[in-house]
């Protein structure tokens, strides 16, 4: 940050930058680096001792840890897949419908569909827990209306359904974000492109698939990476709906809840900051990997379509 030659040092630049850079570095970057570093240490006799990759070896190899770790990672991948195949297509569909010209009430639809996104996980998790509860009977009653009552089971309480159900609840909450971003992208497509397509006789569905979809691919790429980062960092919804143990029988455990238990301990197990740091490091590497794939692969290939 040296001053340009033959000019007095521009202190105001430093003054403008300092608060943001200091807070950001002290609270975000240094702790992040500190966490990565902690994952290489162990607490032996009240002292932090450097142990290399020992914590990671335990995480991957020691059955006490590895069973839970691989389970959480697998669940997290499934959580992400559900988001990708349900949330994003619904978001694109809603945005495509909303962006059709002269659609009435579009402001109302937009506002209403975005409502779940602004609610906290605590509200969302609990509200759905109540609705799906067999005690209350909202869900069975509703299914009875369409004659499907026999299909009802307590989805959140069954190992085979709980994770998928929670993923769908999360989809329900966040579908507003892809919808809005795609909607913005669709609105920014130049009028001339659409007119040219119409001159060539491309309208309706084929116009969407052949003209609009390729043009909004960069936005879909951004949504995918946002979803990826959000999913591999998720914690609140599972914690609210199923507790720190991510029941039933760890079937909804994802990396966030696993990190929480490792770090703070639960029931009889004592919290272990070093193992917590090791898990956080793995999450960091996964997210970093995802971001790199996005930046180097998707972004460079998609940029061709941008104006």
């Amino acid at each position: 940050m040296a001053a340009a030659p033959k000019r007095p040092f521009r202190w105001h630049i430093v003054v403008f930058l300092a608060p943001a850079v200091l807070v950001y570095t002290a609270i975000m970057i240094l702790p992040l680096a500190g966490t990565l570093q902690l994952s290489l240490f162990r607490n032996i006799d009240q002292a932090q001792v450097f142990v290399g990759f020992e914590n990671f070896r335990r995480l991957f190899g020691d059955p006490n840890w590895s069973v839970n770790f691989w389970n959480a990672l697998r669940n997290n991948v499934w959580f992400f897949i559900i988001h990708m195949i349900v949330q994003n297509p619904i978001g694109v569909l809603l945005a495509a419908l909303l962006s059709s010209p002269r659609l009435r009430f579009s402001a109302f639809y937009r506002t209403a569909i975005f409502v779940p996104t602004i609610l906290s996980f605590v509200i969302v998790g609990f509200a759905w827990k109540l609705i799906l509860s067999p005690l209350w009977g909202v869900a069975p009653n509703l299914m009875d209306l369409v004659g499907l009552k026999s299909l009802f089971t307590p989805w959140l309480g069954k190992e085979e359904y709980a994770l998928t159900t929670l993923s769908l609840i999360s989809v329900w909450q966040f579908v507003g974000i892809p919808m809005m971003l795609i909607y913005a992208a669709l609105l920014s497509i130049p009028e001339e492109v659409i007119e040219a397509a119409e001159c060539d006789g491309i309208t309706g569905m084929s116009q969407f698939w052949k003209i609009k979809l390729p043009l909004i691919l960069p936005s879909i790429g951004i949504i995918s990476i946002l979803t990826f980062v959000g999913n591999f960092n998720a914690f609140d919804l599972i914690y609210t709906a199923q507790g720190a143990l991510a029941g039933p029988n760890y079937s909804t455990d994802i990396l966030g809840t696993f990190l929480y238990r490792a770090f703070f301990g639960f029931q009889l197990q004592v919290g272990d900051p070093n193992m917590g740091a090791a898990i956080a490091t793995m999450m960091f590497l996964i997210i970093l990997g995802g971001v790199c794939v996005y930046l180097f692969l998707v972004q460079t290939r998609l940029r061709r379509y941008q104006f």
């Binding site: 940050m1 001053a3 340009a4 521009r10 630049i13 403008f16 930058l17 608060p19 943001a20 850079v21 807070v23 950001y24 609270i27 240094l30 702790p31 992040l32 500190g34 966490t35 902690l38 809603l94 419908l97 010209p101 109302f108 639809y109 937009r110 506002t111 569909i113 975005f114 409502v115 779940p116 609610l119 906290s120 996980f121 605590v122 509200i123 969302v124 609990f126 509200a127 109540l130 209350w136 009977g137 909202v138 509703l142 329900w172 809005m180 971003l181 609105l187 659409i194 309706g204 990476i225 980062v229 914690f235 609140d236 609210t240 770090f263 900051p273 740091a277 490091t281 997210i287 970093l288």
Partner: protein, 279 residues
Amino acid sequence: MSTATRSLPRTIGAHAVLLTYTVIALFPVIIVIMNSFKSRAGIFGAPLTPPTPKTFDLIGYTTVIGQGDFIHYFQNSLVVTVASLFFVLLFGAMAAFALSEYRFRGNSLMGLYLALGIMIPIRLGTVAILQLMVASGLVNTLTALILVYTAQGLPLAVFILSEFMKQVSDDLKNAGRIDGLSEYTIFFRLVLPLVRPSMATVAVFTMIPIWNDLWFPLILAPSEETKTVTLGAQLFLGQFVTNWNAILAALSLAIMPVLILYVIFSRQLIRGITSGAVK
């Protein structure tokens, strides 16, 4: 698009799909609020009907207000959110101004450094953040939360605001310089008022995750004194699992302030998203 290409069935189809999804989006919220005004018998007897004079009951609300210390939690959330928002906007705007206005060595590197935090969640540093807060005696204070949320909000704020500040006319700023205004006056008097709309967008984006966060209040400030409304609601809901009136009332109380704020600011928020601020 010409009217010829829009057919009536297609319009009806679009409305049908959008309306269906609107119902799906609003249904859980409505059912929770509706049932919070009912007696226990009404909640279980007819969960899908609105409260009638026979089933109307405020027992849930009286329990919540009598039992929980919600007003206090609410104040904590308000203090944390407003203070973090203030620092994010002030520091973020200052840094964005420095990055977009001046050319200096390391400018783009600094921009990249600050943008790192958009993709890497601050949560991953929790282990060390807790150690830092323990070492500095800030555990169970609202200051800890404010610091964390300020750091969390800054990257996106700097990124969005510097995009907008690049659009502020150079002539205006140079006119100010010729009139002898200092760089600080130019920033506070000329540039800040001009980017106010984008500040509002950043404010909304920053505010929602802070207000709704459960992770950091749970870890950094779980004491009775410093509980935020999200954490308070979480613990309250856990305690009253069997008191459905109280749970539904607590959920409704937690939903309503956010919902009212959203209805007021939704235009701002949606304009912010669709103006391409978030690319």
